[in-house]
């Protein structure tokens, strides 16, 4: 509730202080066309549920609880193949409450998130918390100094960077001290 109130408060402030942005109608048109793509391909296209299921199984196998560099590299290859198939997803029927269509639209996001997870996990060459790597089973002092940030590169693919962890503020240090 606290966060909800804050979010609302600042969103309202922002909206009051800024005028509405300009809408790029050509872009909207393109997105809408993409979204309708599965209907153009129809039932002859890739089954979206099958692509989703294979992605789940593959990620479980190759980027699951115990991780190794070579497996995660091959996961990236599989993701690329699944992306190509997702682009061919097709669905029968119409837009009315069509779970298959929704799944076809979800694939894009599922694949993006999977790729980000795999790339970030490859980058972190240590084991920490729930991230366990068989090829680097120990926690490393050095890696404690970095977060991994994944952002969208101008070309559209994920860019992976190490960013130094911000030093703790005195207030944080004090809280940690007090709770020791």
């Amino acid at each position: 509730m606290v966060f909800g109130q804050r979010a609302g408060e600042f969103a309202a402030k922002f909206a009051k202080a800024h005028s509405a942005g300009r809408i790029d109608h050509a872009f909207v048109e393109k997105v809408a066309q993409n979204a309708l793509g599965p209907f153009d391909r129809g039932a002859a296209g890739e089954n979206p549920f099958a692509v989703q299921h294979e992605l789940q199984e593959m990620m479980q196998d190759l980027v699951g609880i115990v991780r190794v560099e070579s497996e995660m590299e091959s996961a990236l290859g599989e993701i690329a193949k699944l992306k190509a198939r997702a682009a061919q997803a097709g669905i029968a029927g119409n837009r009315e409450y069509n779970n298959g269509w929704h799944t076809a639209l979800d694939l894009d996001n599922l694949l993006t998130v999977s790729e980000i997870i795999a790339r970030a996990a490859i980058e972190r060459k240590e084991s920490r918390g729930a991230h366990f790597r068989d090829d680097y089973p120990d926690k490393s002092e050095d890696w404690a100094k970095y977060n991994i940030r994944v952002s969208k590169s101008p070309a559209g693919d994920p860019k992976v960077e190490r960013v130094p962890v911000k030093p703790l503020t005195d207030e944080h240090k004090q809280v940690i001290e007090e709770n020791k």
């Binding site: 089954n47 549920f49 299921h53 669905i91 009315e96 409450y97 779970n99 298959g100």
Partner: protein, 244 residues
């Protein structure tokens, strides 16, 4: 592994029909799993609503072999697989598509019910309640709004009195508010008039289908009926009202 046939209703607001699907089923599966398997392999565009798969969100209500139930809580091991299993949308609400119905009437009904109006806090700043009062209200709060009770109640299902009767779910909701000792509002007039509590003839069908096993009729509706009768039909009180 076994093979089972499901007769699933396919259609929309303008009509539809049962379509047969045959699929492999395994030990431990629930009806929703089978429906999902059919959707993924044979009927990609089939509409089915679900969220939690744990009997807690109330989204997957349907009629299985004619009985209102949650698809995610109905184990295949409880139903005979040697004959087709029918799965159809709830009858009491308008159909959207396939197994999905439009239950928004329920939300509109709920909006009309007078909100909780708490007393001021006690001197020590708390709203302390007796454990017995908490338990009574807590049972009603288990409701997951699956609307299966609304689906089965003949007043709505067969007599279509959606404009005159709020249905068991909202009689229950009223009871939770009315029996809260901290509440100051009086909803008995609404229950008698716009709520249509008199339409309920205590068949207990709603109680029978409730997946949360709430004793809707015995613990909520009957006590509310008694309160309404006391308030409006008690001859002594009537007399009292005439002279006061």
């Amino acid at each position: 592994m076994a093979i089972a046939t499901f007769k699933i209703w396919r259609g929309n607001a303008s009509g539809g029909k049962f379509v047969d699907y045959t699929t492999e089923v395994e030990a431990g599966m629930v009806v929703l799993d089978a429906v999902h398997r059919i959707q993924a392999s044979q009927a990609n565009d089939m509409a089915v609503r679900w969220n939690c798969k744990a009997g807690k969100c109330g989204s997957c209500s349907a009629e299985i072999n004619g009985r209102p139930r949650l698809m995610c809580m109905t184990r295949l091991s409880e139903i005979p697989l040697d004959q087709p299993i029918t799965v159809e949308p709830m009858h009491t609400f308008p159909k959207i598509k396939d197994l999905v119905t439009d239950v928004s009437w329920n939300y509109r009904v709920k909006e009309r019910i007078k909100k909780f109006a708490p007393k001021p806090a006690l001197a020590d700043g708390t709203w302390r309640m007796q454990q017995a009062d908490i338990d009574r209200v807590q049972e009603f709060r288990k409701c997951i709004e699956c609307f299966l009770c609304q689906d089965v109640c003949h007043v709505l299902r067969d007599h279509d009195l959606h404009d005159e009767f709020i249905g068991p779910r909202f009689l229950l909701y009223n009871a939770a508010l009315e029996m809260n000792p901290m509440d100051t509002e009086n909803r008995l007039g609404d229950l008698k008039d716009s709520g249509g509590i008199g339409y309920c003839n205590i068949t207990k069908c709603c109680t029978k289908v409730c997946p949360e096993e709430i004793k809707i009729t015995d613990n909520a509706i009957i006590p509310l009926k008694e309160r309404v009768v006391d308030e409006f039909y008690d001859p002594l009180r009537r007399l009292f009202r005439v002279f006061s």
